[in-house]
Every structure is written in C-alpha cells, then in structure tokens.
Amino acid sequence: MRNSVKLILLAVIAIVCILLYAFYDIKGGFSYAFPRRLIKIFAMSITGIAIAYSTVVFQTITHNRILTPSVMGLDSMYQVVQTCIYFFLGSTSILVINKYLNFTISIVLMVLFALILYRFLFRADKFPIYFLLLVGMVLGTLLGSATTFLQVLIDPNEYLNLQSKLFASFSKVNADLVWVAFAILIVAFIYGFKIMRQLDVMSLGRENAINLGVNYDRLVMNVLVLSAILIATSTALVGPITFLGLIVANLSYQYLPTYKHSVLIAGASLISIIALVGGQFIVEHIFELSTTLSVIINFIGGIYFIYLLLRESRAAG
C-alpha cells in the first residue's frame, strides 16, 4: 500500500471515531450534549496533534525512538506546580479556581524549566544531547520525589481534587482554553512547516546534516523549545499523558516506513486522534471504567514500549 493510501485510511478511521463519539447514544438534550462533545473532540484533537508532532520532531533531533519530550522533567514540573498550588494554597485558591491563571502559570513554568535546562546545557560539542536528556530526567526524578513527599502530607480530600489535576481528563476541559491552545498550535505549526524538510535531513545524523548545510545547533535548540511549548500546552490543557507520544510516533514509523516528516507527522497525528477519541469512546460508553483515559494509555503505551525494546534492537538507536 502506498503511504498516501495509508494516510487516507487513517483519516477515515479517525473520522469514524469522531462521528461515533459525537453522535453515539445522544439522548434527550441534544442541544446540551452535542456542543460539549464537540469541544471535547476538539480538545482531544489538539492535544493529540500537539503530542504527536512534538514527539516525532523531538525523536528526530535526538536520533532515537525511545525518549519523548515529556519524560525529561516536563511532566514532573507540571506535577510540582499543581501539587505546590494545592499544598500551599489549597483547592480554594485563585490559582485553582481561575482556569486561565492556572493554565498560564503551568505553561510558563514548564517552558521556563525547559529553557533554563537547554540554555544552560545545550552546546552540542561540549555535552552530547543524551547528556542533556539524562540531566533533565534526573531533575525530573528529583522533582518527582519532592512532589510525592508533599502529596503524602496533603489532606486526603484535597488529594482527590489534586489527583483529578494530575491525570489527563477531557471531561472537564474548558472551552475557552481550548481556543488558546489551538492558537498556540497554529503558531507552532507555521514554524514547524518551515523546518519540515530540514528535519528530513536531520534523520541522516548530526554530521551528515551539518554537511548538507543544516544549521544543526540552532535547529536542535529551536525544536527542543518548540516541543516543550507544545507539550506544556497540552499538559496544561488536559493533564499529562506521558506515553501517548511514544506509542503514536512508533506506530507511525512502523506503519509508514519513510524518512519524510510530512508523512510521519500526519500519520502520528491521525493515530493520536484515533487513540484519544476512540479510546475515550470506549472508556465512556463500553467499559464505563472509573479510570481515566490517560492512565490506560500510559498502561498500554508502557507494555508496547517494553515489547518494542525487547523485539527490535534497532529501535534503541
């Protein structure tokens, strides 16, 4: 099958998922339920695309298919921010009630964290990129142990409130914030479109990319920041879905064997939408599970990842 045919197939499945989710079992208050569902679909699509896009480009510039931008401290940063808000200010504070403020503060602090880390460390000939990632991960673990400590001290009722913040959830997504996130996504994509072909060259490795005239250090820096912004946006919007990017990017590489980022990114984005909308449909209407979608996705993503590592040694490079 040609790649274009495969992409169309994915698009069809995605549309079917969206239609199912939008219209299935919609009783009584159509005018009440339908707009809400649309907003949710919109939020899921934005989140899915942002995560898929940032993971694919991040993996290209870091030359591996295992690491994702969210594991290198970004998710931990989000958890620290939210936990600190609940711990020190409580669930009635303005930072919890005012969604805009919470959204902005989360994004700003996460991007700031990434910027400081990259600015401080990123000099490719001094510190290789894996070094940077490891530092990010260690800092993430450090932040993680600090948050766990605070979480244990929190009053159990407050913790339940906090817990809903710490796991991605589409059911309480704020319609206005979705538009803000959409705007950020569009701006990111305008830049992303410009560097699409440079990314193709990047997959030949650092030395070949420089040889072919790519301004390597600057591109890596820009992409790192770009993926941090996208991950921060999606996390602040719905909460962390750590391993979604890992699954959809790798499924896309497997299903669409090409070096062309236009194809890979489109594929990963569509798979991402299918996973989120389709997954949410299953969770809400079929299993009626108490768990949230992100927990299931991390669970499945985790098993898929271990399978990948054990099966294909090439994936590790």
Binding site: V201, I210, N211, L212
Partner: protein, 255 residues
C-alpha cells in the same frame, strides 16, 4: 584554497590539535596521516565545521569558515565521516538525493535529478539504486555515501578514513574514484588515511601529524622516504619502488 591557521582543540586540558597551520591546495588529493591519536580526524572535523576550534581559524578562500552561512558552505565543502549511524531506512537513491539538499531544499528539480543520476552512475550504483542501505555490504554502503557527496557537487570533498572496514578490492576501488574526482572533475580531496601506502600511491600531498602537531608537510615524494617516516612514526621503514609506486615496507621494522 583552504587555509588552516594556528588551529587548536583541547579536550579537557589536553591539546588534541595543537597550533596547526596547513594550506590545502586546490585540484589535488591531500592525505592526513599519522599515528593513532595524532589529531587527524579532529583537524578534519574542525576544517569542515563539524567541530568548533578553541583557538585559530579556518579560511575558505579568504572567509572564516564560521562566518559562512551553513547552507552556502554546504555548496562549497562536503564532509563524510566514518560512522553513519541512522534511524531511518533509506534507499541508495534517496540517500544520494539528499546530496542535492543544499541546492533544492528538498524539492528536486530536473537539474538535481540529473546530478543524482550522474553520481549514481559514477559510483556504479545504478543497478542497486533502489536497494535499502541496511541491506548493503560495507563497500556498497561506503560507495552510496560517496555518491551522496558527489551529488552535492562541492569543490572540496573531505573524507575521514573512508577505507575503514573495507577489503582490499573495495579500498582500491574507492581510492581510484577519488583520484578520478580530482583528475576528471577538478575537485579538491582531503582524506584522513590510516594506511600509509594508500596515501603514498594515490595522494599528491601529505600532511603528517603527531601528537596534535604537523611534523611534515609537502608533496608525497618528500614525505615517503625513510628519514621523514622515522620522524613521523618512530620506526625505521624501508621504502621500495615498484611500478612507479613507492611502497613502505613497515611490517618487520624495528622501532
């Protein structure tokens, strides 16, 4: 012309390249030789701006390499390193097409396609152009990467130990092609070599490095003699002439 001026690179406190000045003449093959750890590859990496120098500068004609825009530089100088580890599966033709990236930015014009075809033909890869790189032998892979550099159509072609892991037949094949690039297409080739006899037989000029410094530099004739080799390698190496080639017989030398 590429001029290297007082170039140094430190790893920690150790100078891997120590105040090196070299001029690379156009239209010739220049070989960098020397014992392990002499700084050959590091020097080549700095010339090709893969690595930043700590002090000194590299001039392409009269411009500092670091001031030239990256994509402009890629139309003048190409570099091929020894390790080409990749995540993606590419066919030979796709790889060679990447050589046109500095010109086309990914959208191949008819002219670009012509260059790609020529490069494939030049490296004798037409028959297998749709094979994937990971299915090839070491020699074929190396030829594919050289084809990419040829398609890049730069005045200067720099190669870091291109004969690594190749058998005798393929080594000779590659060196003959490099010779042809210089003689027929007027390119300038700079190459890091481990085997002194390949340097002797195929290059016009030799730069000999040791402990990060240039110990000898000049036309091949002036370097390939026992006196100069003694300075470079600390070995007594007899040189024999055979069919007009000077061969260093170092296999049973005393050091």
């Amino acid at each position: 012309m590429i001029q290297v001026k007082e170039l140094s690179k430190f790893f920690g406190k150790k100078a891997v390249v120590d105040n090196v000045s070299v001029t690379i003449e156009t239209g010739k093959i220049t070989s960098f030789i020397g014992p392990n750890g002499a700084g050959k590859s590091t020097l080549l990496s700095m010339v090709s701006r893969l690595l930043n120098a700590d002090t000194g500068e590299v001039l392409l004609d009269t411009n500092d390499v670091r001031r030239i825009k990256s994509d402009e530089f890629a139309k003048r100088v190409s570099i091929l390193k020894q390790s080409n580890f990749m995540n993606v599966r590419l066919t030979i033709r796709e790889l060679v097409s990447f050589g046109r990236y500095p010109y086309s930015k990914g959208r191949l014009t008819n002219e670009d396609i012509k260059y790609v075809d020529q490069a494939l033909e030049y490296m004798n890869l037409i028959d297998i152009q749709h094979s994937y790189l990971d299915e090839l032998s070491g020699g074929q892979r190396q030829r594919a990467f050289i084809a990419m550099v040829i398609a890049q159509d730069t005045d200067y072609v720099l190669l870091d130990e291109p004969l690594n892991n190749l058998d005798m037949k393929h080594s000779v094949q590659i060196m003959k092609i490099l010779r042809k690039l210089v003689d027929e297409l007027g390119k300038t080739v700079v190459i890091v070599l481990h085997d002194i006899n390949f340097a002797s037989v195929y290059s016009d000029r030799i730069v000999a490095l040791k402990d990060g410094r240039v110990v000898k530099e000049g036309p091949t004739d002036e370097i390939i003699n026992s006196d100069a080799l003694k300075q470079i390698y600390d070995m007594d190496i007899p040189v024999q002439e055979q069919n007009g080639c000077r061969i260093c017989v170092y296999f049973n030398s005393h050091s």
